[in-house]
Symmetry: C3
Subunit: 488 residues, 3 copies
């Protein structure tokens, strides 16, 4: 099989050059060196991760080390970290011959993006204008992971159709756009979006869809044989799904207010996710002959509840409110996989490999508007006087903002996120159409052979070779001596 695939590979190299031997290392090196320089100029430890913490504590009469923000946020950070690398990574291993690309490029993109994210978010949010430095702590690491999530979501739409170099470009612009829209939404519009329904999921989803739309491949059907799962690749994908599902309460509570804020966000997300699972299974089973459940739905739509709670999780949405959100989003997301994705591909010429539209773009947008409604419905009797101020951070120049106004700004924020995703994605898409990025040919997509050293595998016999002497090929895989067979 190996050598057969090599042949296939070389054959297409004639039309399309997928060689990234120069470009990929070049981008990685240049980028990493730039990061080192910029970190040297700008990034320092914040006071809670600096040895001066001891003095710091004295100044702020903090009683104990345990009040270091590290102990409030580190467990949630590690859960988010697992979601980014194992969750997103393994969710994208479902393709039969693109598991290396799914988990491996996800790894590369996230490690690449989080460094740039620390800088971009630092410049916009935590730059100390007196010293000109960015001071980072555990919360910065969480935000950097969040920032990467946007680009990883976009990767979901492009999975199998782009080169690693293109992915790095997607991430470079993705992180930059993210930091800008986040600044506008959280700082200028003063929206609340702790779990990032708007800034992460709506933005990332539409960003990826716009890119994919510009990169439309009319002959992608030529790779149809590889655009599907095998039994074990679906089980691998479940690893991703479950770690995303389990840790989503940490995702939505990671950067909310200490104490009741984190506590409430975790509870709300936990409930919404549970509710999504039941409605996803229900719709999936209804849609298929014999009521068979479809792994694609289980792997994705079960997570919609977590996406949709990204904004509202820290509000007093009530436990049953969370269940309702999960209930609806599980249904909508599964319908998306059944009807919207095929529709988009057929009529809008939009190829969305992982269906990020149904898992991120749509539920993220809904989450944004749900957040707006819940915010507008907030009352002092429910939140308490101090509670209302803390929850919506009605302080400083926003002290006199009403919950109604807040709701309006939340809705506006959601539109900003979508606009950034669509416009930014379109522009990046056009950049990616230059013929310099080493992207694969239409009949060579969804194939790890293009960018990875793939081991020869007993398990796969290319159907093309079946009709003629099966023995030789089959045989080669294992004993690698053809003589005995050819003799027989």
């Amino acid at each position: 099989m190996g050598n057969c695939c090599e042949r296939v590979g070389n054959f297409f190299c004639r039309q399309k050059n997928t060689n990234v031997r120069v470009s990929l290392p070049a981008v990685c090196f240049v980028w990493q060196i730039a990061m080192i320089v910029l970190f040297g100029v700008f990034i320092r430890y914040d006071e809670e991760s600096d040895t001066h913490w001891i003095e710091h504590r004295k100044d702020h009469n903090i009683t104990s080390d345990i009040e270091n923000d590290f102990y409030f946020r580190y467990p949630s950070f590690q859960d988010v970290h697992v979601m980014i690398f194992v969750g997103f990574g393994f969710l994208m291993t479902f393709l039969k011959r693109y598991s290396f690309g799914g988990v491996g490029f996800n790894f590369l993109v996230a490690a690449f993006g989080l460094q740039w994210a620390l800088l971009m978010q630092g410049w916009f949010h935590t730059l100390d204008h007196t010293t000109g430095k960015i001071y980072i702590g555990v919360e910065s690491l969480i935000n950097a992971d969040f920032c990467c999530a946007g680009s990883l979501i976009a990767y979901g739409a492009l999975l199998g159709k782009v080169s690693p170099v293109q992915l790095l470009v997607v991430t470079l612009f993705g992180v930059t756009l993210f930091a800008v829209e986040e600044y506008i939404i959280l700082s200028l519009l003063h929206c609340r979006d702790a779990g990032g329904s708007m800034v992460i999921h709506a933005f990332g989803g539409y960003y990826g869809l716009a890119i994919s739309w510009v990169l439309y491949r009319p002959n992608l059907h030529q790779s149809k044989r590889l655009n599907g799962s095998v039994y074990h690749s679906d089980v691998f994908a479940m690893i991703g799904t479950l770690f995303l599902w389990m840790f989503w309460p940490s995702f939505n509570s990671a950067i909310t207010d200490h104490g009741d804020g984190q506590h409430r966000a975790a509870i709300n997300t936990y409930l919404a996710l549970a509710s999504s699972v039941l409605t996803t299974v229900a719709i999936s089973s209804m849609s298929k002959k014999g009521g068979k459940v479809d792994m694609v739905h289980i792997q994705n739509a079960t997570l919609a509840g977590g996406v949709a709670m990204g904004t509202a999780a820290e509000f007093m949405i009530t436990p049953y409110g969370s269940l309702i959100v999960g209930f609806c989003c599980g249904i909508i997301s599964t319908f998306g996989y059944l009807f919207i994705t095929p529709f988009l591909e057929k009529y809008l010429k939009l190829q969305d490999t992982c269906g990020v539209h149904n898992l991120h773009a749509l539920p993220g947008m809904l989450g944004g508007f749900i957040g707006a409604i819940v915010a507008a419905a907030a009352t002092e009797s429910v939140y308490g006087h101090e509670g209302l101020i803390n929850t919506f951070d009605f302080e400083g120049s926003f002290a006199d903002r009403s919950v109604g106004t807040q709701g309006g700004f939340q809705a506006a924020g959601c539109c900003v996120a979508i606009a950034f995703g669509l416009v930014g994605g379109a522009i990046v898409g056009f950049i990616l159409r230059f013929p310099i990025w080493g992207d694969p040919a239409d009949d060579n997509c969804f194939d790890d052979e293009v960018y990875w050293e793939v081991p020869e595998d007993e398990e796969t016999i290319p159907p093309v070779l079946e009709y003629n002497n099966h023995m030789i090929h089959k045989h080669q895989d294992i004993s690698e001596s053809n003589f005995s067979v050819e003799q027989s």
Copy 2:
């Protein structure tokens, strides 16, 4: 294979209808809507997850947000959450063609059960009779996960032989029975059982065994070809085993007393588990020709130490006491797989797919009695005066209970758990025998084809090639009709 299996499927549909296209969605929707209504009526945030926490803290002069129960329990909660969804889920992926059902239905059952658990446990334990509300926090989420564990253990005994609809029925009754027996054991008998040797493992194990006994399939051997593992499915199962093994200290310490209680429970469980691994390997190797180790034992019996420490982990059982418990339970559990499971199947007509008897029922029962002995042996010199009161919660109406009496009640509690499991399971089993649940035929068990859309695998040759000679043979692999070979 696809269409061949379809044929097989359709063929049995004549005798046995495995179509759940109406029943599964119906149950999911009705259930989820009921949950939303009941949550609306009963469930509210507790004071530590409510925005009023700020006022609350003033009242209780709590010095810092870090004393919110969230920071005491959330890391343990996430570990428990991983055990329920990844641990139990992947442990059940070991069957060669039932991995989707193992991890997927586990996912469905747990998400379904935890909502009902929040209500049932709330009504029995935390219902505020003045307001008529149940106030939930992170500890409620942990207890809900625990409550699901009982039903998931039962699923282990039924794996591959029941329909998803039957599983939901098992869970509905399982959670209800769990809440009742838990109330009797923990509240009425005032037992201590933080890690649930009795209330979770003994109950869940015997519940599943009783159901399986009632649902005995005399012709299950017809599915023998699928009732086993393949190389990679065993590796998947190790993911489940290891996450259960690693996080069991969190499981047993998740709801114990703050401070030394959680600390001690984690240490004891860690030691018992380590000791189980060695004795499991020893017995497994002794039992096989050439001293080969059996994956079934490694995947299961290594966990017996954690199960058996469920009750005693928070007591002063001493580190070497923990090692002894793990030592014995590793041996007993492995012997169970070698001798008891075959015995049960042959003479008691009890088919236990995952051997939950050896991993949960038996070690859980032992754990209950170990807890009783350790409790009865407690002295003030070891625990200290305050320590003894805190550990056994000798307060209020139980202030004058002696440790001897406590030991007696612990033993009684264990019997209650077993009785609930056996009787409840028998009843549920009979309910599941109605021919309306869409369970698979005897020669169609352990097969994902029945309830899942299964991708066509390279491992199974694409139907297009059926015409040539090779295919016929290949085809036999599945259909097992040897005629053509004998003719050739």
Copy 3:
């Protein structure tokens, strides 16, 4: 296939006896019983895990349970625990037919080693000479896990070439040597090495390499067919890689100072790891035709940054300093896989299955020297007066040590670790050459069939049967009816 392999097995038994049916259980039982006795004599709960904690708190006027060390360290402990069992375990599943041995024996070795580690480290570090007891808490558990890591690293070099009994011997001596060198380095030389670049990685790496060098197999090429990966085994290995990569910040911060110490160590490690990923991908891609990335590099070299930060992570190395460390180590480690490992095998007769030289030995040694340099460069202006004392623990008899001296001692410590690894490994290697350990024959390495009950697998066709009609035998594998075939 089963019976064929049996035949193969029996065949080699004539020359080489791989039967461990007596030795493996004997070692496990004797060892576990010894542990129980020794724990009974020496090990007790420390004051924070003892019920006396309540009184204890009063004495030390600690305000809250949250200040129990459990809450400072337990989340990091669980992350470390995952690295030891899932991280190391799954990283070693990459071989096509040795995944059981990789994850299973890793499990056995770690469970075996951590008990001995608690005793050895206790005797050297925490033995209370008045009571003659060792008092353990969560930090002891972390240290025990660390101690096992040394032996697991050594296993990486021996993977597939040794029997489980030999592994237990490797671990027994490995843990003992570890405790001694750790005592010399941390206590006598008063080095700082929180993440164990020196005491864990340099020691463990060279220990394994020395053993492997003594156990050189000139005819190992006879097992060449099995010394490689298949597609899905590489995906399994990525589970190990990612959990190691994600949780390495917890590894390096698990036992550092409360507060800013843990906070800073996590940040530094996070950054170094991110930087390693980019340079690893760059070098890997440069080295291959068409710029294809090699899974071996991604699975291993991406972790080099974490190894190299083991010593310096808790120092004020600065964020960009961390990036530089990761940058260099990613390059060096990948070059190691490309050139050093083949060189070692060809000219030094050193067979290093997992390339631990490139992932642990070399980066660990570098990490030790990096730590020495960073320590020597420490200034009071950067660390603050108190900070400097806390970070390097300049108290008691070391109160007047200068940072320059400290740097010198750090470098000396690194040499001690390497010396212990090389000398200890050589001795243990010679012990393992006695023909009593049941190690596999040269043409039987990397094969789970030798020590595991392996399920019959549709996926593999035994080469022995290739010469005659493949089909019929293929057929046997499943239908297990040989008569029809023998007739034909």
